[in-house]
């Protein structure tokens, strides 16, 4: 199985599932959803947003001016939702291979216990 999506990209797109978000909100939401594992630096975030916009997975839906500076809101496109769902399903299938089998196994400590 080849994972096509990098982990930061996955959480970035997941952060946009519920509503359009601006840059800093994407960083916060991705960190929250990943349990703090994915902490996007600003340079990394914008490189990813540029790439995802070019790929047609994310789009700018509105721009606000806050403190005299532009604040863009990003949303998932239909292609972005499809790609995210496909990635999630691939990961879920891979996870099921272990979890379903795990239901029939004892914990490692007991598996080799006294016969």
């Amino acid at each position: 199985m080849t994972q096509r999506m990098r982990e930061p990209t996955y959480f970035l797109l997941t952060a946009l599932l519920d509503e359009p978000l601006h840059g800093y909100a994407i960083i916060s939401r991705a960190a929250e959803l990943s349990g703090g594992r994915v902490r996007l630096a600003t340079g990394t975030l914008y490189a990813a947003l540029d790439r995802l916009t070019d790929e047609g997975l994310v789009e700018v839906v509105r721009t606000e001016i806050v403190n005299g500076r532009a604040r863009r809101y990003y949303a998932l496109t239909a292609d972005g939702s499809t790609a995210l769902r496909a990635e999630a399903e691939t990961m879920a299938e891979a996870a099921r291979l272990v979890i379903d089998r795990g239901a029939h196994l004892r914990s490692p400590g007991l598996a080799g216990g006294a016969a």
Binding site: T9, G23, T42, G43, R69
Partner: protein, 259 residues
């Protein structure tokens, strides 16, 4: 009021190309300030420097693996043409026609006219033999290797951008006597180390350098076939360096090909 931190961020953002800064600068500054950090973290600094370097090198876009390799091969071919043109001018008597064909070939590569570029390098290889009626092969294999490296881009596309033209400087690795390939030549080792390190910005540099350095293997093979003894360390060097470059470039290219 502009704070010291804001000025630090603004200074780092100035590393990005002006066009990108106009489009994104304010927004990025807004995000950096929104974090509430009191000082510039190493992580943010590193990401901004790397992001700016990638933008300037034209390496920020995502490319599929095939495109990366075809562009790198075309770049390696262009580098070999610089070497071929330089070598043609250095010899006595000067061979201006192959040199001019090499320069034309480089321009054609960056314009994306690969079949015409292949034509140029093939003629550049054959010209000295045709002009003086020699019935033997030429040792200027760089032209032939360039032609081979251009074939994938000619068939499936893979024009390198003008912004990657700085990689033509790699030809110095073969042309500059102070960088004469040697296991212990400091200049040569430093140059290759820089190219390897540059992989974090643009993996095409390492792949192009690796492909370009296969010219060494080509020379060694022909020399062996011609009965000329080559010292083992040289053979190892000409195999290991390209292999290291290609492995590093391939690893990064594979990762960058993902979304």
């Amino acid at each position: 009021m502009t704070t010291k931190l804001e000025r630090s961020y603004a200074r780092l953002l100035r590393l990005y190309p002006a066009g990108y800064r106009r489009e994104r600068g304010d927004e990025m500054l807004d995000v950096l300030l929104a974090s509430g950090a009191t000082r510039l973290s190493l992580r943010e600094r590193r990401a901004l420097i790397l992001g700016a370097a990638r933008c300037r090198a034209g390496a920020a876009d995502r490319r599929d693996l095939g495109t990366t390799w075809r562009q790198s091969a075309a770049l390696a071919a262009a580098v070999l043409m610089v070497y071929g043109a330089g070598a043609a001018i250095k010899v006595e008597p000067h061979e201006y026609v192959p040199a001019a064909l090499g320069v034309a070939g480089i321009l054609l590569v960056f314009r994306g006219w690969m079949p015409a570029a292949i034509g140029c390098v093939v003629v550049a290889y054959a010209f000295p033999m045709l002009s003086d009626g020699r019935l033997t092969y030429s040792w200027s294999f760089e032209w032939l290797l360039a032609a081979v490296l251009l074939i994938p881009a000619a068939m499936r596309g893979g024009r390198p951008g003008w912004r990657q033209a700085y990689l033509l400087l790699l030809a110095a690795a073969l042309l500059d006597p102070s960088l004469t390939p040697s296991m212990l030549q400091t200049g040569w080792l430093v140059l290759l180390a820089v190219v390897l390190a540059w992989t974090v910005v643009d993996e095409r540099a390492a792949i192009a350098a690796g492909l370009m350095l296969t010219i060494g293997v080509t020379f060694q093979t022909v020399a062996e076939l011609s009965g000329i003894d080559i010292e083992t360390p040289y053979i190892i060097m000409w195999v290991l360096w390209p292999a290291a470059m290609l492995a590093a470039g391939a690893l990064v290219a594979r990762r960058r090909a993902r979304i």
